[in-house]
């Protein structure tokens, strides 16, 4: 091997003055960084992924982790990441795997958009004193109502409504499958969304029996592998989501390695234990938009037209036209997953280079659907890189009805965004199936944290709306007049249909 060792990604140091040799770091590190030798703790920094589990459980703050302790000769083009990817592929000849979301330093559009507030000419509204409505309905809306009004004042509704999902806050938890994350992680999310009055996605991993008590708050996914799909599964969900693509890896399928397919996962996914679960790139019964329409209608027939059917696509260049096609397919909502969307495992080249940001995708989809007068046919759910309540407010102002959060929900359970999900060794018990690691995540405690996060964002969203003089989320949706761009280029401003600050 002519390449030899590459510089450390992280250097782990233990301060011997502080360390009391309790061994918690040894117990907690699932990557094998620490070992106890006699009266000292030895460190193998090369194994460290910076998941911070050791730090979090060290009672004496004795551990310190430094990133990139050794410099390469700096170069703007030949970055460290580029060079290391080449070393990696020179050694393996394979596709490089990665986890979490896009790791390239693209500008974040959300951070170049600012929100509005009222001053003098109109009063801001205090959410502590006045009602503030965040309730959202997801699904088809009639384009107009037909009412029969009799002279005595009775009004009869002649229009029948399609089934809609009612959420008390426009924040839902996105699809992370059992397999990609642990059952305890799913349970934590399920308990949280049930208490908050919102929904979560099952991902393409089936619905484990332990989640049945929360099924009224679950959106069951039908993806290209059709894992875990049967009539029982479809009927349990509050809604059904067809997954066409994912923001972290548009255009390709998924691969759950056989090591993660333990007996429980195997039962839930309805596949043999230890076998790789491969979701093909396309659905093999969907090669065109009319095929999608048939699947949407097929799923609706199977569930007697009682459940909304969502279609999830990755945000790509042509999202707007694709969404317009979906809106004509009997689907009730289109989920758009931006290129910052997370993943348990994706080829690095896809995660970092394919797809477009959610901000631009939502703006163009909303505009296209309005232009074609079919915006009422589908709700728009935005996902992929929603980090805080301000992002929620901004993406709704750009035209979304609601958001899915993924990574943020995991972070609320302890995830440190180390990006090593694909190895199945998650020390926090989230992205792993190893029983001893899974047991580290207590669903009762973790669910409170997820619930707190959603509640905290909901409160902030209510405050932002109140400050903008808006007491109903409908009036924020698509209200791009309440956004201004700060240092975005003119063409992007046209796509987003926002003015510059000061204008």
């Amino acid at each position: 091997m002519t390449i030899g060792s590459i510089p450390l990604r992280f250097r782990v140091e233990i301060d011997p003055e502080r360390c009391m040799l309790c061994g918690r770091c040894v117990e907690n590190c699932s990557y094998g960084v620490f070992r106890k030798e006699g009266e000292s703790i030895r460190v193998n920094s090369r194994n460290c992924v910076a998941c911070h589990r050791c730090l979090a459980f060290c009672p004496r703050d004795a551990i310190d982790i430094a990133e990139k302790p050794t410099d390469y000769r700096s170069h703007p083009l030949w970055t460290r990441e580029v060079r290391e990817a080449i070393f990696n592929q020179a050694k393996t000849g394979k596709i490089i795997l990665s986890g979490m979301g896009n790791a390239m330093p693209y500008p974040v559009i959300f951070d170049r958009l600012v929100l509005d507030a009222c001053q003098v000419t109109n009063p801001s509204i205090d959410p502590l004193r006045e009602p503030m409505e965040l309730r959202t309905y997801l699904g088809k809306k009639p384009s107009q109502l037909s009412l029969k009004e009799s002279p005595n004042g009775e009004v009869e509704l002649k229009t029948s409504l399609s089934p809609n999902l009612q959420i008390e806050t426009p924040i839902m938890v996105g699809h992370m499958s059992y397999g990609a994350i642990s059952l305890n992680a799913q349970l934590s999310l399920a308990k949280a969304v049930s208490r908050v009055g919102t929904f979560m996605g099952t991902g393409e991993g089936g619905l484990h029996e332990a989640l049945y008590p929360y099924q009224k708050h679950m959106i069951v996914q039908v993806a290209s592998g059709r894992f875990g799909v049967d009539i029982n599964y479809l009927e349990r969900g509050a809604a059904i989501e067809i997954k066409i693509g994912q923001g972290a890896k548009p255009g390709i399928g998924g691969h759950l390695p056989g090591e993660k397919v333990c007996s429980d996962v195997s039962r839930t996914r309805m596949i043999p234990e230890g076998s790789d679960a491969i979701s093909p790139a396309p659905h093999h019964d969907i090669y065109s938009i009319e095929d999608l329409k048939q699947l949407v209608r097929g799923l609706k027939e199977a569930t007697e037209w009682k459940k909304p059917v969502f279609v999830k696509i990755a945000a790509v260049h042509n999202s707007a036209a694709i969404a317009a096609g979906i809106a004509r397919s009997s689907a009730d909502a289109v989920v758009i997953d931006g290129f910052r969307g997370g993943t348990g495992a994706a080829p690095r080249v896809f995660r970092d280079h394919v797809g477009i940001p959610i901000e631009a995708a939502v703006a163009s989809v909303d505009a296209k659907l309005r232009q074609q007068r079919i915006r009422n046919e589908v709700s728009i759910i935005a996902s992929g890189g929603i980090r805080e309540s301000a992002d929620v407010a901004k993406v709704i102002a750009l035209g979304a009805d609601a958001v899915y959060i993924g990574t943020s929900a995991l972070v609320s359970m302890g995830c440190r965004v180390c990006g090593t999900c694909y190895r199945g060794l998650c020390a926090w018990g989230i992205a792993t199936q190893r029983p001893d690691l899974v047991a580290r995540l207590n669903p009762d405690e973790a669910s409170v944290q997820v619930e707190n996060l959603i509640n905290g964002w909901t409160l902030e969203l209510a405050e932002l709306m109140g400050a903008a003089g808006i007491n109903s989320i409908e009036s924020l949706r698509g209200n791009r007049d309440r956004l201004r761009s700060y240092m975005l280029d003119e063409e992007l401003m046209q796509v987003l249909d926002v003015k510059t600050v000061g204008a």
Partner: protein, 350 residues
């Protein structure tokens, strides 16, 4: 701020504009002398079957020929003339007001159920979007808007609105923030038979505008008020809702109220909010909307702007202030302050 007032006589008995001018001037505290306007219904009985277009020309020589040509393309100009004005010391006549009586050629819009209205709407949107020195600011039948930059009495005297007799009047005393001095920015705003006067600011304007524009309306006046006229036109004329139900859509009850309604009511109100969520108007406002047979007053859902109503005989009065109503009709009875979102509706008997 801004002050608004409206009155309807349910028997279509006409009132001249002198009292409404005095009533509007009572609310000068709410204005700034940079905009005022009036609309009166029933003023053109001899031309009542034609659309009365009120137009501001920046330059008669350059602009009028173009409009004449456009109108000829879509129908017949039955009569046109300059709107008489009378010089006022504080009003600089930056536009020439003109009126046309126009009959659209309905054969040009064969697929429409309301071809006349659709042609006129199309013309108004087209002319106003082009922004080439011509603004159609009034386009209904047997009615007319009179507005300019100035105090209410100056604008009234400029047009001598005491010479016009109508059974329904709206008037507006403006304190501008968006477009001071621009005549087009003064209220009332009008489209076809819909006229609107508005006190407040619509914080949901962006949402409402994008909604209404997807139905082919174009917002051209740089202000949030015009969207109200278009929303009423859409909900009442095109979707067939009553004025009451239209107001329900624009200022609906809160979910916490809807959730405890009897089932039928709950379903109805839920359906209204689902279908017309993007039409919901947020922010502080008090609004009077009129068409040829009704006057509707309503406020935002938490009543951040004042609205008072009163009755006497066949007449219903709606205003920002009781004082203004009392100036218009000293013997007014039944003064009420409607609840947030509850419409006050007056309709002609026949």
């Amino acid at each position: 701020m801004c002050g608004i007032i409206g009155v309807i006589d349910r028997r279509r008995q006409c009132m001249d504009g002198s009292k409404i001018k005095e009533a509007l001037s009572m609310m000068n505290e709410r204005g700034s002398g940079e905009g005022a306007g009036y609309v009166a219904y029933g003023i053109y009985p001899e031309y009542k079957d034609y659309f009365a277009l009120h137009v501001f020309f920046d330059n008669i020589r350059e602009n009028k020929g173009i409009l004449d040509e456009e109108l000829d393309k879509w129908g017949t100009i039955v009569h046109d003339e300059q709107i008489k004005t009378y010089e006022q010391p504080n009003i600089r006549k930056v536009h020439t007001p003109w009126r046309y009586f126009f009959r659209p050629d309905r054969s040009l819009m064969p697929k429409s159920k309301t071809p006349d209205e659709d042609i006129v709407t199309h013309l108004v949107m087209k002319v106003n979007t082009a922004k080439n020195g011509t603004l159609i600011f009034s386009s209904g039948k047997n009615l007319g808007v009179f507005k300019a930059a100035g105090w209410p009495d100056e604008v009234a005297d400029f047009y001598r609105i005491q010479d016009y007799k109508g059974y329904l009047w709206l008037a507006h005393n403006r304190y501008p923030t968006n477009t001071p001095g621009w005549w087009g920015g003064a209220h009332p705003f009008n489209l076809l038979n819909w006229s609107v006067v508005h006190n407040g600011e619509i914080t949901s304007y962006g949402t409402n505008r994008r909604y209404i524009e997807s139905f082919g309306y174009q917002c051209t006046m740089f202000t949030d008020t015009e969207v109200v006229a278009y929303l009423f036109d859409l909900l009442v004329r095109k979707h067939g809702l009553s004025e009451k139900m239209a107001v329900r859509a624009l200022a609906p009850p809160f979910w916490e109220e809807i959730d405890v309604m009897p089932e039928k009511q709950r379903e109805l109100n839920r359906a209204i909010r689902l279908a017309y969520g993007s039409a919901l108007m947020n922010g502080p406002f008090a609004i009077c909307v009129a068409n040829d047979h009704s006057l509707v007053g309503f406020t935002d859902r938490i009543k951040l702007r004042p609205l008072v109503s009163g009755e006497l005989g066949d007449r219903l009065f709606i205003s920002s202030e009781e004082a203004a109503i009392r100036r218009l009709e000293p013997d007014v009875q039944d003064i009420r302050m409607p609840k947030a979102g509850d419409p006050v509706i007056g309709k002609v008997y026949a």
